[in-house]
Symmetry: C2
Subunit: 148 residues, 2 copies
Amino acid sequence: MSEQFYSEILREHGLKATVTRLRILELLSESKVAMSHSEISDCFDNEKIDKVTLYRTLNAFVECGIAHKVANEDRNWLYAIFDKDIKPNGTEGSEHKHEHAHFICSACDKIYCFPVVEEMKFNKLKDLMGFKIDQHEIRLHGTCPVCQ
Amino acid sequence: MSEQFYSEILREHGLKATVTRLRILELLSESKVAMSHSEISDCFDNEKIDKVTLYRTLNAFVECGIAHKVANEDRNWLYAIFDKDIKPNGTEGSEHKHEHAHFICSACDKIYCFPVVEEMKFNKLKDLMGFKIDQHEIRLHGTCPVCQ
DNA sequence: AAACTACTTGCAACTGAATTGCATTAATCG
DNA sequence: CGATTAATGCAATTCAGTTGCAAGTAGTTT
Ligand SMILES: [Mn+2]
Ligand SMILES: [Mn+2]
Ligand SMILES: [Zn+2]
Ligand SMILES: [Zn+2]
C-alpha cells in the first residue's frame, strides 16, 4: 500500500500523518501477527524510533480505533491493526468490539487474530447466576502453522 | 476450615506448612474472587507479610497446583485456589488445566472463576486453517451481582 | 530431645515495561 | 508563508515482579 493510503487512514482517524506513524502503521499493517513494542522497535534498527514515541503512537492507534491490543502470555501488550475482513459486530463502530478470537501459539508465543467462526459462537449466554454478561473473549491455545 | 486441614493440603502438595503460607492459603480459600498480590497484602495490615515472601508463596501455590493465576484488565496477576467444584478435565491432575471460564466485572475489575456450562462449550474445534488448537480460554465480561 | 538439612524467609538491590514532564519540532490550516 | 496545535525526544520516574544472600524454621534423623 502507498504512503498516501496510510496517510489518509491516519487523518481519517484524527491523527497527524507523521513520518514515524507512517512507518509504524505500515509495519503493523503488513504483519500477520500481533507485535510487541520491542518487536516493533527491533524492526527499525537502522533508523531508530524513540521508545516513548513508539508507546505513544501505539496508544494513539488503539484510542482512535486503528488498532487493538492483546496481552500475550508474558502479559506484554501486542498490537494489531483491525483488519478489513474482521467486521465490527455492532452497528456503529463506537463502543462495540470487533468480533474476533485470538490464537496464541504455545511454541512461539505469537498471537494471530482469528475470525470467530460458527463453531466458536455461544448461543444464549445471558445473566448467568446473577452475572450480566455483555461480551466474551476467546483465546485459543495451540500450535501455529510455522511451529508444527 | 481448620489449620490442620490447610496444613495437610500444603504437605500433600510438597510444601512445608509455614505460618505465612497457612494465612495466605486460608485467605485465598475463603475468597469468592481472585486476588492480587496487593489485595492479599492489604488483608494483613496488622501482621504484615513480606512482599517477596508473598510473591514466592503465590508462585509456589501455582507451581504445585494449589492455585492458578489470571491476568486482570491491568495485566496484574490475580490468584485463585482451584475449587473443589471445578473438576479437572483431564484424567490425571498433571498437565490438564481445570476447565473453567473467568468472569471479569467491568465495574469493579474483580475476577470470578466460573464453571464452564454447556452453553460455553464449542463442539468440533480442531485444526482451523493449519492452526492446531489444544485448548481454549474464555473470558466473560460484564457486571457482577455486587455492581448491578 | 537435640542435631541436621533442605526449604523458607526477609531485606536490599535490581529489572524492565510503561508513564510523566517539559522543552523542542513539525504537520496542518488559513 | 506564518500561526496554531499536536507530536517528538530525552531524562526522570513509577510500579510489579525478580534475584542474591544471609538468617531462620519445618520436618526428619539419630
Ligand atoms: Mn486481534
Ligand atoms: Mn479461575
Ligand atoms: Zn508458533
Ligand atoms: Zn463488580
